[in-house]
Symmetry: D2
Subunit: 218 residues, 4 copies
Amino acid sequence: MTHKLGEASLHEFYRNRGFSGRVGFGRHPAVLVIDLAEAWTNPRHTLGSDLSEVVNQTCIILQKARKVGIPIIFTTMFFDDELTDLPMVIRAKVPHVTELKRSSTLWHLHPALKRDPKTEPLLIKPRTSAFFATNLLSILNDKGVDTVIIVGCVTSGCIRATAESALNYCFHAIVPKEAVGDRSQSAHEANLFDIDARYADVVSVDEVIKYIDSLSGK
Amino acid sequence: MTHKLGEASLHEFYRNRGFSGRVGFGRHPAVLVIDLAEAWTNPRHTLGSDLSEVVNQTCIILQKARKVGIPIIFTTMFFDDELTDLPMVIRAKVPHVTELKRSSTLWHLHPALKRDPKTEPLLIKPRTSAFFATNLLSILNDKGVDTVIIVGCVTSGCIRATAESALNYCFHAIVPKEAVGDRSQSAHEANLFDIDARYADVVSVDEVIKYIDSLSGK
Amino acid sequence: MTHKLGEASLHEFYRNRGFSGRVGFGRHPAVLVIDLAEAWTNPRHTLGSDLSEVVNQTCIILQKARKVGIPIIFTTMFFDDELTDLPMVIRAKVPHVTELKRSSTLWHLHPALKRDPKTEPLLIKPRTSAFFATNLLSILNDKGVDTVIIVGCVTSGCIRATAESALNYCFHAIVPKEAVGDRSQSAHEANLFDIDARYADVVSVDEVIKYIDSLSGK
Amino acid sequence: MTHKLGEASLHEFYRNRGFSGRVGFGRHPAVLVIDLAEAWTNPRHTLGSDLSEVVNQTCIILQKARKVGIPIIFTTMFFDDELTDLPMVIRAKVPHVTELKRSSTLWHLHPALKRDPKTEPLLIKPRTSAFFATNLLSILNDKGVDTVIIVGCVTSGCIRATAESALNYCFHAIVPKEAVGDRSQSAHEANLFDIDARYADVVSVDEVIKYIDSLSGK
């Protein structure tokens, strides 16, 4: 028999079973900005919803990270125009991916993010986790990163999958909750719960800002 | 603004946005039995809950699969007795893993599964996805498998993570809903929803049995 | 004490020690064309050498594969113009990679290959193995491929590394020897020896052509 | 046309083409001891050769590493007694792997290595690279390692494959040449050349000892 509990007691229930520990912050963070691009941030598109507050909160973190010199990495998604690099079973499960073509503008980053092309890589990822079939892991290791602050969208897809991978590869995975979003509020909440229980510390943007400040104070 | 919807309209909402397509069954299935071991199936343990019905449903599938000669692969989890192969950040996030030692019996498979050691591999996995840091992918490819029927526990952890990996590697990922379980009913339901929307076809055990029958009829 | 032997007796020595078995051809091949691009095929470039015969032999295989409808996948290499996605330790070990920028023409495929952009993916790989940090494995699995015919350059680098990965993931790895080349003849020969001993069947282009013919005769 | 050159001019030839750069030592090394087990170190076995000097040199490095507290990780290979986890294509290519069964003693480490089971993990790897289908990458990242000193056997197989993976994941890969060995002297030399050109700095054991001393002097 499984359990039906309110959220507070569910937290307690999980903690008693050895979940929801704290990985804490390490000493060498990077900010990983997931898929804050036209397809997801413009509500008029199939995949889009209003993520303006997520973009705002992300910009607050980015501004601080740039001041202190913390590495920033962006991801987005596209396939070639003929979709020759898009597998059929992926297309079958999530048909929306067929819209993400190189020649479209759907994969273009939200302009408010002001990515600096001289220092901030933009990785093209084919699946939910930013670590899958990309060079991200090598780039993070090369920079000596031990902590990955994951922001962007969507909580129930690419954010959760990326947090899982980040912990798998033994990064301190941190998800600032106001800087991630989802088209479904219930999916957002259920997945933040699972992420905090299993993969990453779900914290506030304020805690992330204080942490970055503490690094620059060194 | 994100959406608050009942489950029926949430399904509709997702389908309209290009989720929840059908990957369907392929032609060369394998059954992947995730973590139906003492630690998870005995309610007296930290991680345990009553999964007897999940074990029963799994046995129904296994019996059919053995008759037809479909490959069966089991997973479980343990670390060495000194935990030298258990990373500290994993331990920090999910402290229960420290119980999973080789010399304990927590990782032993539920006896009702009747694993045949001559033909059915038992893989030791260190993380949620059965594909992470194991030889599973190579074994599946070697057997010419194109369809992975994922059963066992828990829905919100290893089942979801394994379904995600299976689709990433372009297997037809299938989750028979009565043959997967979780210690939390709400986490079970929320994750079955996400799995069906993004990673695997969530079907009934009956559908899986009919599919296997259709193969043996060839 | 280790052994110093002529090549014939070295083959014998390895076979006696359980190397150099035959993986043979499977039933669903793909042709994987590695890095036959301007940087490697034009002798005037840092990495270039005269690979015109390798290109010719590759074209013979491609022509046959296209007639029969065998999947063909190309790879090449580039990094972004600011090299933000090129790790420093890679740059330190093989400084030539800094030339491989997106805005250069060095990564453009040799025109004789006549890649069909409608059906033949071109994957951008960051390292020697075509499987590393790319979507190749998923694309092969999606197409039901069990046999990878590896052609292109260079034998001692990307060909060997790709053959190793292909066997790791349990594809029948096949290297037609006249269709792979290297800037160093001694490195070419030493690596073909190791590839055949450990990772792939080194065969003639003729054998590959006969195999493909046998498939079309079905 | 490719080149036939003596070794000195071959080095020059490669350096002019942007190979054989130095990755140098980082600040947080680990020692990775590859397959110094009964199967490889006892000349009476199929895979064995006299590697006593490699074992000696490895012990010199281990003694120093233990004094300074540098992480040490061992690998070996085995499959289950029924070989259910050994893919058929691997068996076809390198039939010797069928000897490596859990119940045999072939995978037992050479006793001179004096592995400390309390702090030094022993990873079971199924293929040549120690990173393939193991938890090694996560363990290294968890310990904050940036430099991997690779010792053991054999140069043309597991050492080269592991060095390649180590650089792929952006570790400073270091191979002390007296502490790696091979059953074939020519394969040893040809592969040390390629390793130094492409994947790792090939140095002397003395250089490694001096480097470790420099760390302890901090």
